[in-house]
Symmetry: C2
Subunit: 243 residues, 2 copies
């Protein structure tokens, strides 16, 4: 037991961001090439240290989101994944990182921030395939971010966070397919989604792609939680389509 004069050891607090978006129906994550040691030249999740003693952790996530991805956090889905604090995860000292999951719509332009030489949207299957090595424990964080996103698609309406203001049902379906890594029957999906009250609401307009019948446009409804959940196909049974 510590004596009376004992004070707790200080640690450095960082935030790391798992930012997902959909590009060409494939899930992408924003990675930055590290410009400084440690792990200089390797790819890492965007993130950084708390700026000052008074900054809230969530505020730091907002700030990094803007600095490194040029994304306005107030427009985005952003939720905490957890804390990662293994004593030796950062060679510079005792760093505890709070990781966040962010979901961005459309095709945002990545923009390299201050301490990142380059930022790039990388297809998640490429990272999971092991062809890209991540710095620190960022591969673990990415995995847990992906699993969280998959689970959230079942229980909440975050799928719309991947889409623009208005979207078609097929665009929404591609979100589910890309994140879950499965192929879904579009006809069943169509009704299942519409059967959920206030998940998506028709906006009255249509989108014509030049081919085929125009698709109705929808916007996100007021519902945030899905009950009953949209249970994803069993990982064992899943046909692992998409890429």
């Amino acid at each position: 037991m510590p004596d009376d004069d004992w004070t707790p050891p200080p640690v450095l607090l960082a935030v790391d961001l798992v930012i997902f978006t959909l590009i060409d129906s494939t899930l992408h994550v924003l990675l930055v090439e590290r410009g400084i040691e440690p792990f200089q030249g390797d790819w890492a999740l965007p993130g950084g240290f708390l700026e000052d003693e008074r900054e809230a952790v969530l505020a730091a996530a907002h700030r990094e989101l803007m600095e490194e991805a040029n994304l306005d956090a107030t427009q985005l889905h952003l939720e905490q994944l957890g804390a990662y604090g293994e004593p030796d995860r950062d060679p510079r000292g005792r760093v505890v990182s709070v990781a966040y999951l962010a979901i961005a719509p459309g095709l945002p332009e990545p923009r390299a921030g201050t301490d990142a030489a380059h930022a790039r949207w990388v297809p998640v299957p490429d990272v999971l395939g092991g062809s890209i090595k991540l710095a620190f424990d960022h591969e673990t964080i990415l995995h847990e971010g992906l699993e969280r996103a998959r689970a959230q698609l079942e229980h909440t309406a975050i799928a719309t966070a991947f889409c623009d203001e208005t979207f078609t049902i097929n665009e929404l379906q591609r979100v589910y397919e890309a994140v879950w890594g499965v192929a879904l029957d579009l006809r069943n999906f169509y009704r299942k989604i519409q059967a959920v009250d206030d998940f998506i609401v028709p906006v009255g307009a249509e989108r014509r792609t030049g081919k085929g019948r125009p698709a109705r446009l929808f916007k996100a409804g007021s519902r945030t939680t899905l009950y009953p959940p949209l249970v994803r196909p069993s990982p064992a049974t899943a046909s692992e389509g998409n890429g």
Copy 2:
């Protein structure tokens, strides 16, 4: 942007524990009466600061579990809930707390630790009812711990973590009922649970309570994830039985 000499501000790292157990078919959480300021005399979740620079966060959770609840973490379900780091959550300074959810079986003896005057198992409905005020942001943490436990019952086999080595199906059902706050049909529950491969395995023995037909005893099987999930009744529809 910070200048070149800038170093990140240090924070103090704490762990807090949401330890659940079942007593008389009611969900209880371990609370300690704070012996020191701030919030002296109030009830709080057990927890404490990181002991030294080299201690892993999870190890600190293990240590506090033993110190404050006399529970061996290696025998318990223990998972991280997340980090709580609002700048003003602790008047002593910038403290970021990593919260853990722990689930203990049976009727463990609480044991007051070093910096806790008293430790007590408190019925969760009492705390949620607002009759007990919690220190810091511990009410938020408790809520999120409860929600996590509820969700985990749907998707994983943690229900067995509330039970002793061997248990009856009815004991398992009371876990679900107490945590979800609903009443379940025992006959449907009986089959549903047994239909899940390797969730529980019969141990061959029986338990006689003195009344009625003896119940078969089971132990936890090798399965950890439940697919398809055991979807809990809708919160809106739930009859909110139990207490």
